[in-house]
């Protein structure tokens, strides 16, 4: 007698997968990604590519960069100063972005704002995020002139968009009960934000801000240079594009790497020390 709960294929073999929608979607996503990858490789434009020599040359270039770093067009003090500028740009974009994103995300979180306001800002933010940072920088370089204002404002938009998404998700996870309790004691919206929302999400918000700072440092390398605000990216651009000085590129890369490592280490340390419960 065949028990009805066993599912079999046509040729009588027993299924072991549930075949749920989730499984199907996973499978199809994987298949589509693979197919597109293969198609991509077939369609690529390979003109001028000589893989063998290119790899050898890259290896040689990397060797020169990383094993013989030197400074020839500026000195160490200047390098530190330029790194400082890049850090400063990243910091300003992050901190201003975080403040603006905080207020915007109060208007985006569905438990704090009316649905229509939330939706409008969400769309707005999605569009802002999709516009390349270079274009933002260009726009502000044109209207504000060359300098740190253009760089910071250009980077600001993506920082805001990124943080609004992260912050509002954090806000939405705040326990409904807290809202209810505060409301029922006669608190108004600002009271609830101040005493309910901020304390429960602060560490979460801060850890996202740290992360964004790390990202912004990378962005500031490229954007500081384009916007005429200087920074280590300017030196990198000059070294590689104008002097073709790979050794200097190597030195600059090292200095960027060191800062990036430091930021990573500091932020994990801080998180572990002050915000042990950030894993929500």
């Amino acid at each position: 007698m065949e028990a009805s709960y066993i599912r079999r294929t046509k040729d009588g073999r027993i299924h072991i997968k549930s075949g749920s929608k989730g499984d199907q979607v996973v499978r199809w996503t994987l298949i589509i990604l693979l197919v597109l990858t293969v198609v991509g490789f077939l369609l690529f434009n390979y003109t001028g590519l000589e893989l063998g020599s290119a790899i050898a040359e890259t290896a040689y270039n990397l060797k020169v960069m990383f094993l013989e770093p030197t400074l020839s067009h500026f000195d160490l003090g200047e390098a530190v100063y330029q790194v400082g500028i890049t850090l400063g740009l990243a910091f300003l974009a992050t901190i201003i972005g975080a403040i603006i994103a905080f207020f915007l995300s109060l208007m985006v979180a569905t438990n704090l704002a009316p649905a229509w306001v939330s939706r409008i800002i969400r769309i707005f933010v999605a569009v802002i995020r999709a516009v390349p940072t270079v274009l933002w920088v260009l726009i502000f370089a044109i209207s504000a002139g060359l300098g740190s204002e253009a760089a910071v404002l250009g980077m600001l938009f993506h920082s805001i968009a990124y943080l609004v998404k992260a912050f509002s998700e954090g806000f939405e996870e705040v326990d409904k009960g807290i809202f209810e309790a505060l409301k029922s004691s006669g608190a108004n919206w600002w009271h609830i934000v101040r005493s309910g929302v901020i304390p429960t999400t602060l560490t979460y918000l801060l850890s996202w801000v740290f992360l964004r700072f790390e990202i912004n440092f990378g962005v500031a390398v490229a954007m500081g240079a384009a916007a005429g605000a200087g920074g280590i990216g300017f030196e990198l651009f000059m070294a590689s594009g104008f002097y073709f000085d790979l050794r200097e590129v190597g030195f600059i890369t090292y200095s960027i790497l060191i800062i990036a490592f430091l930021l990573e280490v500091i932020s994990t340390r801080l998180k572990r020390r002050y915000f042990p419960a950030t894993s929500n």
């Binding site: 409301k183 004691s185 600002w190 005493s195 560490t203």
Partner: protein, 254 residues
Amino acid sequence: MSLLKIEGLGKSYTADKQILKNVNFEIKAGEFVSIIGPSGAGKSTMLRCINRMVEFNEGKIIFNHQDVGSLNNKELRKLRTNIGMVFQHYNLVPRLTVIENVLHGRFGYKTTLQGVLGRYTEEEKERAFYLLEKLGIHEHAYKRCDQLSGGQQQRVGICRALIQEPKLILCDEPIASLDPSSSKVIMDHLKSISTEMGITCLVNLHQVEVAQHYSDHIIGLNKGEVVFRGEGSELSAEQIQKIYETNTKDLIIE
């Protein structure tokens, strides 16, 4: 003198389902009243209509001579200040200290700016400590709330309601998440609030015996309708069955 009067109250969240139907009752100042009923009967909804955390559709609620339904925003905040609320899951802000959570009860008396800056007067702080001491948790005053046990958290919740200096306290299953001994502590405190401080208590409960033991009056709710109204001793097995639509035997298991 009735503090709270409910007349023909009706509420539905969606068009197809009426949660509360023509509810009528009155509560006198200083009374301890329990609402019992099966899950989904509308107990929580009932409570939340009283301080308009939920807007009701029909009928009238008169609290302290005020028509609750007709209040504007500002009056509503004032009303909520007069009505404390205690929750099953305490609903404290977990990362803040006990004392801060208690002081949240004062928001109704503050302007936005005072609240946002966290300005509390010394009297308010003294009062908070007094209440914490009264409920026996003053030594935890500077602990973060998430470091307390359930029973302790609930006492913080009660302090937060009391510091509002309310005329009425609404409790939505205050002991459902607690073990038996903590439950007793909490119920005793609530009872003493009504007897000693003269504050009216309206409490949703699941346990019939607890309701019978503590209440001056019991209201039995079933499918949004009041099916019983009387003293605990008047509650017969049949009536329990009417409220819960099930056998008394099956019920008392717990």
